[in-house]
Subunit: 226 residues, 2 copies
């Protein structure tokens, strides 16, 4: 469920950008990116790919409610809610609308530099105040290994210790560091699976470690093994 209303990128990254929503008696049908992966995003409702979604918070909240109430999700193992950065309307609404059913927890994603950690500390504080468990922290865009000479560069330098140090400081599980690999961005642009295309790459191994760690935190070891 893509709650980034003004900048929906999930459909493109999952290769379902051209899908539209079908409405039936049962509700809105999500788009299927894989046999076991349904997606809902405002992107499916736009007349054109380039169209701006000029919406204030109140209108965003209404759509998020509809995504939860009117979409025929079926019998889900997991509902993954992708939010934009921040601690604003989208975050407050998701938390309010799911209060009764309960939220298993939140996953934090950062890049290594302190300017990014600064925002993530605020997100963690939000979770604490909202009573949402932090399942773990992932560090994305870690060291880059030159394809020509194998030299590793810290492009977004962890001047204060990066994700690992922040997780320790905050007492939350550290789920792993995903190195910068240009093929991840390309897979996103082409809507292809990085896991299928480059299963043995260090970035894929790191991402699988993140999924495994997360599944353990959620008591869903079965998913981590798949």
């Amino acid at each position: 469920m893509d709650t980034d209303i003004c900048g929906p990128s999930i459909p493109k990254m999952l290769g379902v950008e051209t899908e539209t929503i079908h409405v039936s008696a049962g509700g809105w049908s999500p788009a299927w990116a894989m046999d076991n992966l349904a997606v809902m995003s405002i992107q499916f409702m736009l007349p054109g790919r380039d169209e701006a979604i000029i919406w204030r918070g109140a209108k965003k909240n209404g759509l998020i409610k509809q995504f939860l109430k009117d979409v025929e999700w079926g019998d889900l193992d997991v509902l993954l809610v992708d939010t934009p950065p921040g601690t604003g309307d989208e975050h407050l609404s998701v938390n309010a609308f799911l209060k009764e059913s309960g939220i298993d927890g939140a996953v934090m994603v950062t890049t290594p530099q302190e300017v990014a950690l600064l925002d993530v500390r605020k997100e963690i504080d939000f979770c604490r105040k909202a009573g949402i468990r932090v399942l773990g922290l992932v560090e994305n865009m870690s060291a880059f290994v030159c394809p020509k000479c194998d030299h590793a560069s810290e492009i977004f330098k962890a001047t204060t210790g990066g994700g690992r140090a922040l997780a320790a400081e905050m007492g939350i599980p550290f789920l792993g560091s995903v190195p910068l690999d240009p093929r991840i961005g390309m897979a996103c642009d082409y809507g292809e699976s990085f896991f299928d295309s480059f299963p043995d790459s260090p970035a894929c191994t790191a991402l699988k470690g993140v999924v495994k760690g997360l599944a353990e935190q959620m008591g869903l070891e079965r998913i981590g093994e798949e």
Copy 2:
């Protein structure tokens, strides 16, 4: 003026993170990052660096109005408004509050990959609908040159032509490509001037080119020369 209410990073990047706001009869005093650079951000009002700002859009709009009405900006050459990503409350409010005084224009910043351009196309559409001139587009995080072997890697690959192609497609000025340089992130983390520390680096040359092009678009050639 930092309108990223939930994720204020400008004070840290400009080295004024520990400043607080002074209130006088004339209004709120901004923090001074340099002799000729005043800054206003919600960060100056927070009890702690890690404190979440859990605000819905309406509350954000109120603060943006205060930043414009109650801050003693003095006699400004330029008011630069930094917004978070998207086309939501912050963007609508800045545009509404400055409607009468007029807005010279907007600067778009993207990274090279299509998933990023997708959002920027929406921002450009927002500007068109809001009647805001687009002064130009900057491509950030372009090729990375390995410090060991000089090999250039496109980490965020421009699978659809990147910023330059988007600017041409949209008929807006292209202000330049800023290469990925780890020292930029470090300068931001340390609150130091990348311009002062690495004036001859390719990234600094590119950034100066962006400023010059922007000054030309705004009819402020004087600033481009400084």
